[in-house]
């Protein structure tokens, strides 16, 4: 049963918890505006997501992604897993809250260069090893 919570658990740990932390630094008015933006995002993102997802409504030749029924809770709205509906409430508020948090920090060019180098190292060296498919012939 635990594997059905895989998507929702990873979403909670990686995005919802940091989001709550960063949102707590903002004012009530700012959080309200972000919430309204998330509602707008919910509409257009979910509409396109429904078009992308393999299911009864989508033309079988045209789908872009498919969800594994073993890794999701199993509740679906128009073929879309319920977890997907959290997406706009995470990937709209989280970047805004982090941006507001770092906006007033004065980065020197050397700091930015260091951050970029670090990111490139992670992207090209660490991630490919972490996510290497373990297919054995």
């Amino acid at each position: 049963m635990k594997h059905h919570l895989r998507y929702i658990t990873s979403l909670t740990i990686l995005t919802i918890i940091p989001e709550i932390y960063f949102l707590s630094k903002l004012s009530i008015q700012e959080i309200l505006v972000i919430f309204i933006l998330s509602l707008l995002g919910l509409f257009f993102m979910m509409k396109s997501d429904m078009g992308f997802t393999k299911g009864d409504n989508t033309d079988s030749r045209k789908w872009v992604w498919n969800f594994n029924n073993e890794s999701i809770v199993g509740i679906k709205i128009k073929n879309l897993p319920i977890e997907e509906f959290l997406f706009p409430f995470v990937w709209i508020p989280l970047p805004i809250a982090v941006w507001e948090y770092i906006k007033h920090i004065e980065f020197r060019n050397v700091d930015l260069a260091l951050i970029l180098t670090f990111c490139l190292l992670i992207l090209w060296i660490v991630f490919p090893r972490l996510t290497k498919p373990d297919i054995k012939k």
């Binding site: 594997h3 895989r6 998507y7 990873s10 990686l14 505006v33 972000i34 933006l37 707008l40 509409f43 257009f44 993102m45 509409k47 396109s48 429904m50 078009g51 992308f52 393999k54 009864d56 409504n57 989508t58 033309d59 079988s60 030749r61 045209k62 789908w63 872009v64 992604w65 498919n66 969800f67 594994n68 073993e70 890794s71 999701i72 990937w91 709209i92 970047p95 805004i96 982090v98 941006w99 770092i102 980065f107 930015l112 951050i115 970029l116 990111c119 992670i122 992207l123 090209w124 991630f127 490919p128 972490l130 996510t131 498919p133 373990d134 297919i135 054995k136």
Partner: protein, 137 residues
């Protein structure tokens, strides 16, 4: 057919990004925004890579992509479109936030009107896309 994903990304995100960037002009630190987006992109892509990992030992992948509807260009075994989505989405969110906060604080109704028009544009594009992806009865 191979351009299904990338075409939607361009239609959905590029016009608002360009218009918001023009609205903000020199008031926005685009270099800082680029570094910020790159850092968050790596965070998101890492999760994405883990979620799409396939292998004999780990069959609990969360989602997978259809090679028939993506360009087929991969960076570290991950579709190019996912990187483009990450960058476009982060730029869109932050620029929208900056334009909105400036418009609200300056009582700039014209800019608010532009934001609403672009919101309608995005909803229209997603509805149109959803209808084009649906199975013909």
């Amino acid at each position: 057919m191979k351009l299904t994903y990338i075409k939607l990304l361009i239609n959905l995100y590029l016009p608002p990004i360009i218009i918001f960037a023009v609205c903000l002009g020199s008031a926005m630190d685009f270099f800082k925004l680029a570094v910020f987006s790159f850092v968050l992109l790596i965070y998101g892509i890492g999760w994405d890579m883990w979620a799409t990992k396939h292998g004999r030992k780990d069959k609990l992948w969360i989602w997978c992509f259809n090679p028939k509807t993506i360009t087929g260009i991969y960076l570290d075994r991950h579709p190019l479109e996912e990187y483009i989505f990450g960058i476009f989405h982060l730029f869109w969110v932050i620029l929208l936030w900056e334009v909105l906060s400036r418009a609200i604080s300056n009582n700039d109704l014209l800019t608010l009107f532009i934001v609403v028009l672009l919101g309608i544009w995005q909803i229209g594009v997603s509805i149109n896309f959803y209808n084009s992806q649906k199975k013909k009865a």
